[in-house]
Amino acid sequence: MARRKKSVGSNVKDLVGKARESTRRRRSQQPAKFSNYVFKVLKQVHPQLSMTNKAMKVMDDFMHDIYSRLVSEAAGLVKLTKRSTLSASEFQTATRLILPGELAKHAISEASKAVASFLTSRNEDAKRSHARRVINNPPSMLPVTANNEEPVEIEIFGTVPRPLLSNAREVTGDVEESMEEDELENDVEFARKMPSKVPPMVKNPPTENANVYQNNIAPDSTTKRVLPIDNTAERDVPVDLSIEENITDEEDGSRIQEEPHPPTPPTEAESDTSTVAYETSKPTEGENRKNTHDGEKKKIAEEAETVPMDEEAETQSMNEETETEPMASQSVSGRNVEPNTLLIVDVVGNTQESSSMVSDGSTISTQLTLSSNTRVQIGTGNGSSAEPSETLGLLSRRNESVMTDSGCSTLRDVPETPSLTVRCQTLTTSRDSKQIDSRIGFGFFFGPKKPAFEQQFKMPLFRSEEMTLCQLFLQSEAAYACVAELGELGLAQFRDVSILLFKYGFVVTISQLNPDVSAFQRKFVNEVRRCDEMERKLRYLEKEIKRDDIPILDTGENPEAPQPREMIDLEAAFEKLENELREVNQNSEALKKNFLELTELKHILRKTQTFFDEMAESGHEDEHANLLGDDGLRAGGQVLKLGFVAGVILRERLPAFERMLWRACRGNVFLRQAEIDAALEDPVTGDQVYKSVFIIFFQGDQLKTRVKKICEGFRATLYPCPETPAERREMAIGVMTRIEDLNTVLGQTQDHRHRVLVAAAKNIKNWFVKVRKIKSIYHTLNLFNLDVTQKCLIAECWIPVTDMETIQMSLRRGTERSGSSVPPILNRMMTREVPPTYNRTNKFTAGFQNLVDAYGVATYREVNPASFTIISFPFLFSMMFGDAGHGLLMTLFALWMVVKEKPLAAKKIQSEIWVICFAGRYIMLLMGLFSIYAGFIYNDVFSKGVNIFGSAYKVNLTEHELQHHHSGMLVPNEVNGHYRQTPYPFGVDPIWMLAENKIPYLNAYKMKISIIFGVVHMGFGVILGIWNHRFFGRNMNILVEFVPQIIFLIFLFGYLCILMFIKWTKYYAGAEDQALTPGCAPSILITFIGMVLFKYDTVALDGCENYMYPGQVTLQKIMIITAVLVVPILLFGKPILFKMEMNKAKNHATLHNHNGTAEGEDVEVAGVPQTENHEGGDEPHEFSDVMIHQAIHTIEYVLGSVSHTASYLRLWALSLAHSQLSEVLWLMVLRKGLMFQDWYGGVILYFIFAAWAALTVSILVLMEGLSAFLHTLRLHWVEFQSKFYAGAGYLFVPFSFENIMEVQPGEE
């Protein structure tokens, strides 16, 4: 570039021009010297090397060249895309285009690093200067912004000037300005009422200002400010102020947001705080050029008791506003309002008069007098955010009568008399009936209620997310972009909607799944088909790329879903590529065929020449001579002329061909053949085939036709072969030249094909992602319902309640991107359908959740055992897999997977075993760590004990015992035993590993701890049931189900555990009292059996006592009787309660009626498979049903307790098997390597160790590990989860691009 400039300059030959040129050159030379950098890099890489000046110059020129190429390429790209600004992306693309693959990646990453570090250094500079400014301005006054640099006054209400508001209500108002001047008076009046004043505000730092106003493009955009209210100063001055972002949307300037409500226990109908958002707008004096307005924020704090909630709301709103979107939030809390009722009123525009609200428990009406351009937004307050209000806001503009989802709120907008009445009535009756239901305990209402203790402690995995069914109204133009955004987010599960049920003119109930509408009747079928076509083309491309062994560039980047119009470009691009490729392929195929023919001909000429030469050698001068010799020919009386055909045939067909010729021609033909050494390529399949040249001599035309027919039959290719040697030579030369020509043409074709494919390989992954995204979006859009006007798409989706905000945000983003002005509407719906189960997991908990889900997906919002499984699963596993050595191996493997997580995940290995292992890497890691622990407890490291703390035994063996290798029994006896009376501090004493009574000792120990942990595990499961009973409002179930169950378990098996502890602590070796010596310790099992059978021995052994403690017989008898007596409670308690409630319900006629209507609604949605599945099972309606259900449940529990307790003995059994197996392996394999008492023993040990290691990994770690894993899984699924877990839910499967991308590669 510099050179070009120079030439231009010299052409002008102007003095001034020259001067300019020289300065330019100087300037361009100054930064363009790369020698310094080259030198630096050189020193970094090779510190000893140096470089000559010439080499440096070459390097310098090289760098220049590269940069100028980059610049020109980038400039070309800008032109190509018809943009006017050169951006970083152009440079990146240019780099990719110019530099080869790896180098380009490297260059881009280095450059971005450099840019990033440059930017951060600049930012730090800015921060430093900013900090200086902060020091100058006291922080308490800092964060208020005013573009016009005028001080703003902030004032606070001390009292509420609205008598109609119920007194237990708190209003936080955010005042928004508009441009009307006449509102000023209002404002002043308003301000007069404010008692306290805030100190004047200080201009906020200019950097923030700049940020804020960057977004502010629309001419009539408004700026709002929200004051985070410090609730410690209830009626006082707000301490801190923050900047609100701008609203660019001209018609929708405000949004409402609402706080989650505190839980209402079903019995408490009232005393609920709800919130009302109230917003007025007024102009302020200092409006700047950009129409940015100053805002004021007033807080009305009336009651101290509502303050904490207010604080929550404020912080929440504050977060949202500072972080993401323009949104103003206020809340008015009202008393005596049910949580699921309408409670948000948002007024945008001008209020002539203050609003009024009346709330009398079931009805709230608000009366607002409004000017013509005012909008009122009403929302329902069931813990959701602004979306219902927006519906109403929209509809109110159309002067429609509206009912919100929660019930029957009506909205009337009468334009002539600018007043508006909002009335809301909740469906009290139907709700009541549901509450009755839930109080009875047979069925529940899926409302947002949580027990208080759960709200206090956030336990994310404890229950599945609270879900809500939402209706989504999207403008047709914006639908695509919105769905794309939702796909990136992956938090909404769309349902197939076809028929919306209309009631009173608007949507009330859920729509139906529609099995009748076939795939062709939907709206976006065509688009989906186009995507399929594109995918097909891409697959074709991919196949071709793979055929040429071109590496496919996978940058792992995730391009955004392309715009619909981009789809056409993509289609065109793919079409072009495919056509080009097909053409190239066709050409090359034709060329190859040609080439093959020529090569075959060449071979024929060459081989036949040898035949003819041979003949010539054997005395026949030319081919005219007959093969049979002169005599034979003369014998026939005439000179015979032999004809011949030459051709090529597949080598494997040759024998059959020869035989056929012989038979068909009765031996009258003569065949010579020669193999072609080099393999030939079949042009169609591309395979390498071996062929043979043959030449057939025959006499007469009849034979000739016959021979030709046979050749045809055997797919042999015949070539014309000239008869004279001269002609043959000539032909051979011609063939050779043609082959050479063809070779060059073929090479060019191949090069072209390669170029096309390499270019495609760079983008193909990206294209795949794009096309799949488009396809999935249209697929989702097909599930939507098109409304009558065709302007709006209606969708229904399940979404997590906590993510409503996020979804709103992304919907808004989608709308903005599509350029649509109509905001999307997300409307919460009430449904009796059971929502899907969604457990938010991370990479650590996901594995454990999968273990639980494999048994059955949790019923919606029931206690999720996954969080407990995280500890109990590895623990129980380690009890069976207790060997520190094997545990270490497992830990190392899992650790490797965890550490190398990202590179391994990027490899996308498809092997099934690997996928399972990798998905469970965190489970394996924990299992390994726990096994190491258990190994030290059992004192097993590859079946050898480790003596860390010094054994507590001192073994004295007699001379005889030593001589005969007796290790002897370990007797913890003081007199003749070996015990030092202080136990080994951790785990099993290592000396047991050598003792002859090792197995009996360990068995007793392991059996006991198995039972103890089993009972604890099961008891924990039963206790978890309480959380389920309480959550679903089945409080009586605690009494009739939980209490009998836990009594049964504790009185029988809990007591068994207690007996074990008594035995462990009471009897010891060397006790002075003979009754306390180990010999007198009773067998726990016998004691327990005796207890159940009421069989007590009267005769004790000598010096022993029959019972472990006084009163044992009485206590045991009482416990057995109690345990038996609770069984009838378990059996009949629930059915009897049900009967009583049924009777009560019958007496209550009204309630019954409403029950009927509720069921009527169910009928409407009948035929929907989902509803059918999820209704029913949990809500038995007949007494006999309940009775049978409960009888089964009881029998299952009672018998289960016995069998499950025994089942935990598998912990002992597998642990025994594992330790014995590893000991056998050591004995039978590794010890063989230690038998040789010479140096070569080492070499043998080398091989034997390898064998031992292989067996250890394959048998002990893999096989035993798998079996222990499966047994642990069973213990969790059957023994633990059967105590509380229904697992009757269905999984939440959100529409997510991530999932789609994950699934698709597996299908290939």
């Binding site: 480790v946 290592p990 050598l994 390597g1233 038998m1235 008492q1237 080492g1242 080398y1246 160790f1249």
Partner: protein
């Protein structure tokens, strides 16, 4: 030139590392006359003399220790070879 493939060399590397660690430790334990390894000694069925017994036990402990270390040394060689092979394999695959 690589004479065993990437998987083979990786497997050998892992086994050798394991072998070195375990055999060196076992050698140390034999050398210090660890009781836990007493079962792995090579002794006669019956001894008439206690001194013979002790002598055999001591030589056996020592010999086993040396054997373990010899095996560990061979594993060290294996490790070097297999790491080299692994490296070669990796380099080859990069070049392609």
């Amino acid at each position: 030139m690589p004479f065993c493939g990437p998987k083979c060399s990786l497997c050998c590397t892992i086994v050798s590392v394991w072998g070195i660690v375990q055999l060196v430790l076992m050698g140390v334990f034999f050398y210090t006359h660890s009781v836990a390894l007493a079962e792995d000694l090579t002794l006669k069925e019956h001894y008439s003399n206690l001194d013979d017994f002790y002598k055999d036990v001591n030589t056996s402990y020592e010999q086993n220790a040396y054997n373990c270390w010899i095996a560990a040394l061979i594993y060290l060689v294996t490790l070097c070879v297999s790491v080299h092979q692994f490296w070669l394999n990796n380099r080859v695959s990069y070049q392609v």
